[in-house]
């Protein structure tokens, strides 16, 4: 009964905090438009580059133009969801430990990680990513005349959710390093930049990079592997998805807890 009531409580709080956060959308409309606009510009550039590349060759490493668009669009879905709920981790990495403000998550009667993330629930930039991603997926699927079977349709949201959890875990892991180094922004930034590779077919890359993106920082499981499954109906590594997700979440939480326990609030 207790886990159920806890889950209900956190779900209710998430809903409530998200509702409060919606204020930001109205209060910082300009920020929102700028953020969404910048993101859109970036995706347009990415699409343009892909378009130019495919003007030279109709097929690269077994992928067609529309399939690459689908992959790019799919990669934005977990990224957008992740950004909507975990953006505060950037602030943790950059300054919350350094300036001593992290203390406030330890004096609230909710899980400190939840408390931290809740300060930026529904971060506006995430909407842009999610909508752009959904648009691209829709457009590419339409041009490919994709007809997913029932299993694919049912699995699709689960795949996006696991991808989101993987991204959030990698972010938590690197942001938590700030408990040791006081500022882990460079590490988090580097890890996040690597994630950009996941929006393109991994077949393009050197095997060492492919291995890195699959097993070390498993970004492959957030886009390439699930998108391959949805496009071609096969992805040999897909069965690993749940194990990888669960393992990574556990690792991130363990590092987070160790970090919180050694946290020393600076200053008076």
């Amino acid at each position: 009964m207790r886990p159920v009531s806890t889950t209900v409580r956190y779900a209710r709080l998430t809903w409530q905090l998200s509702a409060v956060s919606m204020h930001r959308l109205t209060e910082y409309r300009m920020d929102f438009l700028l953020g969404a606009g910048g993101l859109l510009l970036r995706v347009v550039c990415q699409v343009a580059v892909i378009g130019m590349v495919f003007r030279q060759a109709p097929e690269i490493a077994g992928w067609h133009y529309d399939q690459v668009l689908f992959l790019l669009g799919f990669s934005l879905l977990p990224r957008g969801l992740d950004r909507m709920f975990t953006d505060q981790l950037w602030i943790l990495a950059r300054k919350l430990v350094q300036n001593g403000e992290f203390f406030r998550y330890l004096i609230r009667p909710v899980h400190p990680l939840f408390s931290l993330l809740s300060e930026r629930f529904l971060y506006p930039d995430g909407f842009g990513e999610l909508l752009t991603g959904a648009g691209l997926v829709w457009y590419a699927a339409d041009r490919l005349a994709l007809t997913p079977d029932t299993a694919q349709l049912l699995l699709a949201p689960v795949l996006v959710l696991c991808g989101t959890l993987i991204l959030a875990s990698i972010k938590t892991l690197f942001a938590s390093l700030a408990f040791w180094t006081t500022n882990s922004f460079p590490a988090l930034y580097a890890a996040n930049q690597l994630g950009d590779f996941s929006g393109y077919p991994l077949d393009l890359y050197h095997p060492s990079l492919r291995w890195l993106l699959t097993w070390l920082l498993p970004y492959a499981f957030t886009a390439y592997i699930p998108a391959s499954y949805l496009l071609f109906g096969r992805a040999p590594l897909l069965p690993w998805l749940f194990a990888v997700t669960a393992g990574l979440v556990a690792l991130a939480l363990a590092v987070w807890h160790r970090g919180v326990d050694r946290y020393e609030m600076t200053g008076s």
Binding site: L17, S21, R24, G100, E101, F103, L106, I107, H111
Partner: protein
């Protein structure tokens, strides 16, 4: 309600050589020394009391408060707040306590104050009646509505502090830790914050632990004091008892006579009262300061009445600030023993 048993907190400070080579060295060697911020503090604060925890900068006040609030784990020793070890059961402890760190914010930085309270209501599961009662009180005393819909980050320090204090109390905590709660407030608002804390203590029996450099806060709120110095409690008792440890007292008086020539009077007093000093203060009064170990107030008054035609006389309470200054700077030397009157 609050128990500290031999609380110790050591910090690791990494040694780093000078210059670039020194910085690079820290990457490879992990040499460090331990700095003891709190060395075996023990005390007990009964439920419903209002205690000031005071000490000079670097005396280990904040570190102790951080352990009592569960933010940091002690190196050794144990703390109990409302029956829980705060750093072990942070979430359960958080429901019991309220915290204000004057230098830092716990509100939602980019949201308006009313939103912060709405969120606090949710995470603390505050019953409707309690929430309404408290918000009405804050509106009344702190004029919380005046903060409007401005995001917290755009508020002035004074405006923010009002909201911080209210936010620490909104869930009716059993214990409230106030670290510099009136910093940045004008006199009227300082009064309001003190009144709020006193009212909550009187009506709900909330235990208060205050650390402040503002003597006014301590006098207006607290009935007990714990003085820490170099990580140890050196005085524990009521404010009154602390004041009685003062080693200098003062008497101010006015007298009939030649106000233009106070030097004679001063010379007379200083000659008769060994170790005392007399000065002319505003309004032509003479202030006599004397060591309590050497003279009793009766002897001083007797002398004044004998030699002057006294028209007005006051013996102010010793000043808390100077009592504390003596403790901080003079260490713990005992007061000199009274000697026979010569």
């Amino acid at each position: 309600m609050i128990v500290a048993e031999n609380l110790v907190k050591d910090f690791r400070v990494h040694e780093r050589g000078p210059g670039l080579l020194g910085s690079l060295g820290t990457l490879f060697s992990r040499e460090h020394r331990l700095v003891r911020a709190v060395s075996g503090v023990s005390f007990e604060i009964p439920a419903g009391t209002k205690v000031a925890y005071i000490g000079a900068n670097g005396a280990g006040k904040s570190t102790t408060v951080k352990m009592l609030t569960g933010i940091m784990t002690p190196t050794s020793g144990r703390a109990l707040v409302a029956g829980l070890e705060p750093y072990r059961e942070r979430r359960r402890n958080a429901a019991n306590i309220g915290v204000v760190f004057g230098q830092r914010s716990q509100l939602w930085w980019d949201l308006p104050v009313p939103d912060s309270f709405r969120i606090l209501r949710g995470i603390h599961d505050i019953p409707d009646a309690v929430y309404r009662r408290n918000m009405a009180l804050y509106r009344d005393l702190l004029d919380l509505d005046a903060l409007g819909n401005t995001p917290v980050r755009q508020l002035s320090l004074g405006q923010r502090m009002r909201a911080e204090v209210a936010a620490s109390l909104v869930h009716d905590p059993k214990v409230v830790f106030l670290d510099e709660p009136t910093v940045g407030l004008d006199l009227v608002l300082k009064e309001a914050v003190r009144e709020l804390v006193n009212r909550v203590n009187a009506e709900l029996g909330t235990t208060v632990l205050l650390t402040s450099h503002d003597m006014g806060d301590i006098r207006a709120i607290c009935d007990g004091v714990l003085v820490v110095d170099r990580g140890e409690v050196v005085h524990s008792g009521s404010v009154h008892e602390l004041l009685r440890t003062a080693d200098t007292r003062a008497v101010l008086f006015e007298h009939e006579g030649d106000p233009a020539a106070p030097t004679e009077a001063i010379a007379l007093i200083e000659a008769r009262l060994d170790g005392a000093s007399a000065t002319v203060v505003d309004g032509g009064r003479i202030r006599v300061e004397y060591p309590t170990g050497r003279w009793t107030s009766r002897q001083v008054m007797g002398l004044l009445l004998e030699h002057f035609d006294v028209t007005d006389c006051v013996a102010p309470e010793p000043d808390l600030e100077s009592v504390l200054r003596r403790i901080y700077t003079g260490g713990r030397r005992p007061a000199p023993r009274p000697e026979a009157v010569g």
